[in-house]
């Protein structure tokens, strides 16, 4: 199903323009859809076929309602896949479609070239469709409710993966898994040398030898009690491998883990990805792509995507401005030791070494960075000022959210905190044989910031569904003191020792 002719022509033009500018992307397939379809695909996170789950329906309800109230409009949607798929909204003006297509090519270039996407599954459209088929089949076999409940439990921990795990790990985690060895004989018998004639036994395996072997065995067991040997960040993978699961459950956990890993780089590069795409739509539209009579509409639409709301940051805006700033600085040579050492305001303002390295630099940045390193390296105090960034906090006295500070260091620190691990707490498996009873101890790696208790309770409940033994998490309370919360299926609370 191709695009209508006028759009088709524009697509070719924009594609050529993008290639000319040095963008490098997978072939991109555009699909024109109506708003209902757009809401559907957006609710499925970009994939036309997903496994059945109510949360997609919830998203759909929200998206469709927001549109109905005129509060939000989904202009475009791009899927990281080879070929890339992009959805265009029917009924948008030709100007809007041009802008969106230019934007899309920016995203596609980013998907293909950014280092953090290098290991993502480029056949994800097929993969998610296969997952759908498989989970539907499990629902037929085991019942919708049973499977849905298990999926709910898995989704509860789908942020507990190792975001930098090489994708290859996925294959390592087979579905065979290790079982805890409950065979009581295992604990008594020690290795003996082979005896052909029974009367030779006491000669070949003298008591001293047996005693020695027993000691070795005990030492080994002691070692094994610490399991996993190193704290494990990939909790989903760990449970998949070692949880007492049935085959179909292991499969589901594995599929959802694969999907979670696929989406991780998109969360890690939100600012960069949107900034990069905005940079390119803006560049192309203002250098000839938009017809003169379209330029005002373009300006309006573009400024709407750059708008900011109090208490929020706009990744499009921050990303775009940073890329432009980097380009300008590297064009003028505003970097390096000499630049850093200079503290004369006038000299800095007029600094221009005519290096012309800007374009090259931004392409390099889009290849090597993620949001955390991008902000860390390129969000200068001058940019924080220009972007009007501030810290806010809740003022309990006034019962209002207030602007706390505009100190660039604090803003930077806070923004980096928000971006680190996508703003989510880092949790690891600490001990899978906790209290020597096969219970699971998770540990929240924290510096003073504790977990939300209600959510921790509900999440632990779901972990328990998978682990099937009591589960615990170590974190800190509001005073910063270490505590352990436990859930044994019936009650939740601070661990009693």
């Amino acid at each position: 199903m191709g695009l209508p002719e006028p759009l088709n022509q524009q697509r070719d033009t924009i594609r050529d323009l993008a290639l000319e500018q040095g963008l490098d992307f997978f072939e991109t397939v555009f699909v024109l859809v109506n708003y209902r379809r757009m809401c559907e695909v957006a609710s499925f996170e970009g994939f036309p076929k997903r496994y059945p789950h109510w949360r997609f329906g919830m998203e759909f309800e929200r998206n469709y309602k927001l549109h109905g109230y005129g509060l939000a409009k989904i202009y475009e949607l791009v899927v990281n896949n080879d070929p890339c798929y992009a959805y265009l909204l029917e009924g948008n003006s030709l100007m809007e479609q041009k802008m969106v297509m230019a934007h899309v090519y920016g995203h596609c270039d980013f998907f293909k070239n950014n280092y953090f996407f290098a290991r993502t599954n480029r056949k994800m459209i097929d993969t998610t469709a296969n997952h759908g088929v498989r989970i539907r089949r499990y629902m037929d076999q085991h019942g919708i409710d049973v499977v849905e409940q298990f999926v709910d439990a898995c989704l509860s921990i789908d942020n507990l993966i190792d975001p930098f795990a090489p994708a290859a790990r996925m294959e390592d985690r087979g579905d065979g898994g290790l079982e805890f060895n409950d065979d009581p004989r295992e604990h008594q018998t020690v290795p003996r040398l082979k005896v052909d004639k029974s009367y030779m036994e006491s000669w070949i395996n003298p008591p001293e030898y047996i005693a020695e072997q027993r000691k070795i065995k005990e030492e080994k067991q002691q070692e094994q009690q610490r399991f996993p040997e190193q704290p494990e960040r990939d909790i989903m993978g760990f449970l998949m491998e070692f949880g007492p699961l049935e085959r179909w459950q292991r499969h589901i956990l594995g599929m959802l883990r694969e999907e979670a890993l696929y989406f991780t780089p998109q969360r890690q590069t939100k600012i960069m990805n949107e900034g990069w795409a905005s940079y390119w739509h803006s560049k192309m539209m203002t250098s000839g792509l938009a017809d003169p009579d379209e330029i005002i509409d373009f300006a309006e639409t573009h400024s709407a995507t750059m708008a900011t709301t109090p208490g929020q940051t706009n990744p499009y805006k921050i990303g775009l401005e940073l890329f432009r700033d980097i380009e300008e600085r590297w064009d003028k040579g505003q970097f390096g030791e000499e630049w850093n050492a200079c503290d004369d305001f006038r000299q800095r303002s007029n600094w221009n070494r005519h290096l012309g390295l800007g374009r090259e630099k931004i392409f390099e940045v889009r290849k090597l960075h993620n949001d955390v390193t991008f902000i860390d390296e390129f969000l200068t105090p001058a940019m924080i000022d220009r972007l009007d960034l501030y810290n806010y906090r809740f003022d309990p006295k006034r019962g209002q959210w207030i602007i706390d500070s505009r100190d660039p260091e604090k803003v930077r620190e806070r923004l980096l905190f928000q971006l680190t691990n996508s703003g989510q707490p880092v949790v690891v498996v600490e001990d899978a044989n906790y209290r020597n009873r096969g219970e699971l101890l998770l540990a929240h790696r924290t510096d003073q910031t504790g977990l939300d208790k209600t959510y921790a309770k509900r999440t632990l409940q779901n972990v328990l569904t998978i682990w099937q033994r009591p589960v615990h998490i170590r974190t800190v309370d509001h005073r910063g003191k270490t505590i352990v919360w436990s859930h044994d299926g019936e009650s939740f609370g601070v661990e009693k020792s």
């Binding site: 199903m1 009007d388 960034l389 806010y392 006034r398 706390d404 910031t449 504790g450």
Partner: protein
């Protein structure tokens, strides 16, 4: 042209989500009814309800971490105004007390359906039929002529700007845009027509000194659910409100629930007013008429009670579908009136009586009133 089918893959998930929401409401219906939080959250054809959260729980930072980075103008100490969004990047966890709840919209019809199923309410067979066609105007388009009061400022200026840029007399350094007549754009409307069958609910309430705030709250909650159910049964519903102490007067909804008078009680005054309204405005042949009366059961005198019975028998009952009397228990009321009604109308199925000792009894009372199927 779109060739894809109109049935979306998401429909199944959407349906499943709505089932979960409805199941949740059904499980907690009694609580929803008793605590009354549903009131005042009502739009034209839907209500928003807070249900216990059904999102997917994940580990997240606690309250101590609330706050974040924002963008825009303002000095340190300035309020951000409104609530800050629960956006990406987390870190803005835990704000309002209702934070662990999910607000969902549910159509009044669906709510009525749940109420109907849970209370096993029979469907009402409308008596009389009148087709009234109502017209409604919706402002949903733009045109180039119209009165100045409907002028679309932004579209007009955009048009002017477009023209000036095209003609070449727009100067970016001195960006003055002057619209001329052809640039003007105006809002425009369409008319929609809709047939209706009608019912009227007449709420009467005793507001004398003995009815306290809690009693009124009970009436308020109960009337909400009665509205909800009857609305699902009829296409057009009108509601009228009468308050009375020693004299009766018709008021609007707001006043109905918030007035407090002192002094005596003459129930007949309300019945008289109700029967006047019915005979003047709602011919029984065309309208389904539902008078509801709530009081604490005190009446001024036996004489007045006799007048009430006569009014009911001769004027109100002949034209109404049913007559419902709800007696809210109060510390001051004697509770006599319901006994009198029982005595006079015990064999008449048209008269439904219900005693409401407290909030928990509201559900049963609704069932008493609406379970008749009339």
């Amino acid at each position: 042209m779109p060739t894809e089918s109109d049935i979306l893959n998401i429909e199944r998930d959407h349906w499943r989500f709505k089932e979960i929401v409805k199941g949740n409401i059904r499980d907690n219906l009694k609580e929803f009814i008793s605590n009354g939080s549903i009131l005042g959250r009502r739009g034209k054809d839907k209500v928003s309800i807070n249900i216990p959260q059904i999102d997917t729980p994940r580990f997240r930072y606690g309250k101590k971490n609330s706050g974040g980075v924002g963008q825009g103008s303002g000095e340190p100490g300035d309020s951000l105004g409104g609530e800050s969004g629960e956006g990406e990047g987390g870190g803005k966890a835990g704000q309002a007390p209702g934070d662990h709840e999910l607000e969902v919209d549910i159509k009044i019809n669906e709510l009525a359906e749940i109420l109907g199923e849970e209370l096993q309410l029979p469907r009402i067979e409308p008596k009389g039929r009148k087709n009234v066609t109502s017209t409604k105007e919706r402002y949903n388009s733009i045109r180039s002529t119209g009165p100045n009061s409907l002028r679309h400022f932004k579209r007009t200026y955009k048009e002017a700007l477009r023209r000036q840029v095209t003609v070449g007399n727009y100067n970016p350094d001195n960006p003055i845009v002057v619209p001329i007549r052809n640039d003007m754009r105006f809002r425009s409307w369409k008319e929609e027509k809709k047939p209706e069958t009608n019912a009227v609910i007449i709420y009467m309430m005793d507001v004398s000194g003995s009815m306290g705030d809690e009693q009124k709250e009970i009436v308020r909650i109960e009337s909400f659910w009665i509205d909800t159910w009857l609305r699902s049964q009829y296409e057009g519903i009108e509601t009228r409100y009468i308050i009375h102490d020693a004299v009766a007067r018709e008021v609007d909804r707001e006043t109905f629930f918030h007035t407090r008078e002192s002094g005596g009680t003459m129930i007949s005054s309300a019945y008289k007013l109700a029967s006047d309204i019915i005979s003047n405005e709602y011919p029984a042949s065309d309208w389904n008429i539902y008078p509801f009366h709530f009081s604490d059961g005190d009446n001024w005198s036996l004489d007045d009670t006799d007048v009430c019975m006569a009014l009911l028998r001769e004027h109100i009952l002949p034209s109404s579908n049913i007559f419902c009397y709800g007696q809210v228990v109060s510390a001051y009321g004697s509770g006599q009136f319901i006994k009198d009604l029982r005595e006079h109308f015990s064999k008449n199925e048209q008269v439904v009586l219900s005693e409401i000792p407290g909030r928990d009894a509201i559900m049963q009372s609704i069932k008493d009133f609406l379970g008749t199927g009339k």
